[in-house]
């Protein structure tokens, strides 16, 4: 059959090879959801405490840090500005950071570890890093319930500003997803990504308002440095969480940046990271099955 003789009309859908995304969004969602759900089921399956472990880990970290910084290092003076409900602030930040660390570190190896699927089944490749983020999201949702319970027990009253929570989470999720896409795609050809990211993630932990509050940074460093500090999207997310959810006594992200308009800068960083991650993953996806 010569190529001219092939009638193009009435043929099935063209097969275009593997891609990051799909036209079939419901399948995309079902896949992402089911992979994340199965991973969630698996993670603590067979362990006696099950899901509780997911809770115990941030709580243990919280316990250590809390005891050290309140009883030994004396960071929390209820009279110092921004230090009210230090425990709840610390726990909230830890839980948010746990989400970030899980979503990104889990994504690094995700595509490579699912080699058997990638090389043998056609499905939108983006499902893989997104399911890792979604899994972290499941855990975050459960952990946040504990954080709110702890905060209320510490005397935090429900506030109207709690409504900001979805926006805060959205910003965190977008940032994490961007990094997850970037790392999982890069790791296919560059295996150094894993140790590099482990170190980077540690640095980000200390470079964000988790243990140290923004007020302390403001006190000890210049305004320029504070501004640089707040360009870190994690700093914005954690600080706004502390302000909106725990106590208005601490600075809002906008106040820490100097103005609400300046908030556009970290937001632009989130958008840039997301776009970069998407672009890189999108370009890697068609060839990933061959390059693994």
């Amino acid at each position: 059959m010569s190529s001219e003789a092939v009638p193009y009309e009435g043929l099935g859908r063209p097969i275009r090879g593997p891609r990051a995304l799909t036209d079939d969004w419901s399948r995309f969602w079902h896949l992402t959801y089911n992979i994340a759900r199965n991973e969630f089921k698996l993670r603590f399956f067979g362990s006696a405490l099950g899901y509780l472990w997911q809770l115990v880990r941030p709580l243990l970290l919280f316990g250590v840090l809390y005891v050290f910084f309140t009883k030994v290092a004396h960071v929390n003076n209820e009279n110092t500005p921004g230090q009210q409900h230090y425990g709840a602030q610390l726990l909230g930040s830890i839980v948010l950071f746990t989400f970030f660390a899980e979503a990104t570190a889990g994504a690094v190896r995700s595509v490579v570890d699912r080699e058997n699927l990638v090389r043998k089944i056609q499905f939108p490749r983006m499902v893989i890093p997104l399911s890792v983020v979604l899994l972290a999201m499941f855990n975050l949702a459960l952990n946040l319930i504990v954080v709110l319970g702890f905060a209320i027990a510490e005397g935090v009253h429900p506030m109207l500003s709690w409504l900001e929570l979805p926006l805060i989470i959205l910003m965190l999720a977008a940032f994490s997803t961007g990094i997850a896409m970037l790392l999982s795609a890069l790791f296919v050809s560059l295996r150094d990504i894993q140790p590099i990211w482990e170190v980077t993630s540690q640095i980000l932990f200390y470079a964000s308002p988790v243990i140290i509050s923004v007020e302390t940074v403001k006190e000890k460093f210049s305004a320029t440095l504070l501004h640089l500090y707040m360009l870190n999207p994690l700093a914005v997310v954690f600080q706004q969480f502390r302000h909106a959810i725990i106590t208005h006594g601490t600075l809002s992200a906008g106040q820490a940046l100097g103005s609400w308009a300046a908030l556009l800068e970290p937001l632009a960083i989130v958008a840039a990271v997301f776009a970069l991650g998407f672009w890189v993953f999108n370009h890697t996806a068609p060839l990933v099955a061959e390059n693994l």
């Binding site: 190529s3 097969i15 090879g17 089911n34 199965n38 089944i121 150094d192």
Partner: protein, 410 residues
């Protein structure tokens, strides 16, 4: 075999000029150190054409075979059809859903129970979660694993594993493509019933027997090119031809295995088909001739020429000798060239054969003048290798004897 004719539905698969090239880096640098040490060194790439200009279509309800030896591009083509690899040029259209089971049970998670695995696999293949859950019962019943459905897969025996994987494949897929796995009778039964039900199946194999047994049409791949598309028997013949013909041992080694006193020598020997054309491969069931040109160095009286046709296991499948026809073959004078011809019906089973020719002095045939061995070989092509040494026509009849029950006897 003809597939059920149906011109109203579009062809399930159409591939047009599909070409796929792999770029294989000669040295793969995975780490930063390797890159930092040699920042300017360009990674050299070897290009490897896995598929070249492949065009074919699969018709509705057809059982289409893709044959070829290892590395001929079968799996690459399958992965291109499935959309796992993108093609460099050419186009593929698919009507329906193709689930590429390069291997069965891909993506099964050992720590999950059958149900979760089946549902996730279904979604992977494009079912909605509701459809996947709805088909779960059929799958688990087909696999006969209902009583083990709560068991984690890692506790399954390998047989149960295969049963589950295969049930998922056939219950969920509309177009099924299976790899080289050795499927046994149950799978064959399923294939037959699927074919009879008009399902379209793409079947990848290097087993010519299976190809002939199931496929309506087949395509033969060799080094990434489609060598032949058509009747599975033709494809199987070509496959045997190509693969035995490519064997480095096939090019005749001359002058090995020589023995005898040298008073006569076989100068040349060859195989002819029924039309008298020299051939290195011959279809089963036609007549063929093995000829040997012999030169006598001295005068010889009543020599005996014998032909042994040895199969790959060095078993003499056929022995023929001039002594049987006429013990007194006469007198041959020095310098004379004589042509011996052995003609017979080719009933050999498909495979490679190497003839051995001997020339002996009168008598027992053991007093050798010449032994001409390993100099040439030929291949017999046929639709299927049943396992016997020869395939002679056999009349098979079945007649039932009347049933005599014990009660009547008593």
């Amino acid at each position: 075999m003809q597939p059920p004719a149906d011109s109203s539905t579009p062809p399930p698969i159409v591939a047009e000029s599909v070409t796929k090239t792999f770029h294989v880096p000669e040295e793969r640098s995975h780490t930063l150190k390797e890159r930092a040490l040699h920042p300017l060194r360009k990674t050299r790439h070897q290009t490897f054409k896995a598929l070249e200009d492949i065009s074919f279509d699969v018709r509705p309800g057809e059982f289409f075979g893709i044959a070829g030896r290892n590395g001929s591009g079968k799996s690459t083509l399958l992965k291109c059809l499935a959309g796992i690899y993108g093609v460099d040029s050419g186009r593929i259209w698919m009507n329906g859903r193709l689930s590429p089971f390069i291997e069965l049970g891909v993506g099964f998670n050992q720590d999950l129970a059958a149900r979760d695995n089946v549902v996730l696999n279904g979604i992977m293949m494009g079912l909605s979660p509701r459809e996947a859950r709805a088909r779960y019962d059929e799958v688990i019943d087909f696999a006969e694993l209902r009583e083990f459905e709560e068991l984690k897969l890692k506790n399954y025996s390998s047989g149960m594993h295969v049963r589950l994987a295969f049930s998922v494949a056939i219950q969920v897929d509309e177009v099924l493509a299976v790899g080289d796995a050795a499927f046994q009778q149950k799978c064959f039964d399923v294939f037959n019933s699927m074919r009879d039900a008009g399902r379209t199946i793409v079947f990848v194999t290097h087993d010519m027997g299976t190809l002939n047994r199931f496929c309506h049409r087949a395509m033969l791949l060799e080094r990434g090119s489609a060598v032949h598309i058509g009747d599975p028997h033709e494809v199987a013949d070509r496959y045997l031809e190509i693969n035995f013909g490519r064997d480095p041992d096939a090019a005749g080694r001359r002058g090995t295995g020589r023995a005898g006193d040298g008073e006569a020598r076989t100068v040349e020997a060859w195989v002819e088909d029924q039309d008298g054309e020299r051939q290195s491969s011959l279809p089963q069931g036609r007549s063929m001739t093995i000829k040997a040109l012999v030169a006598f160095a001295v005068d010889v009286e009543d020599p005996v020429a014998s032909l042994y046709v040895l199969n790959e296991d060095h078993v003499a499948v056929l022995v023929a000798t001039t002594a049987r026809e006429n013990e007194r073959s006469g007198r041959f004078i020095a310098g004379q060239e004589v042509l011996f011809a052995f003609s017979f019906e080719n009933v050999f089973a498909p495979g490679r054969y190497s003839p051995l020719l001997t020339l002996a002095h009168r008598g027992t045939g053991l007093d050798l003048m010449d032994r001409f061995e390993g100099a040439f070989s030929f291949v017999v092509t046929g639709p299927e290798a049943l396992g016997g040494l020869v395939d002679i026509p056999v009349d098979v009849s079945v007649s039932r004897r009347p049933i005599v029950s014990e009660q009547v006897k008593a």
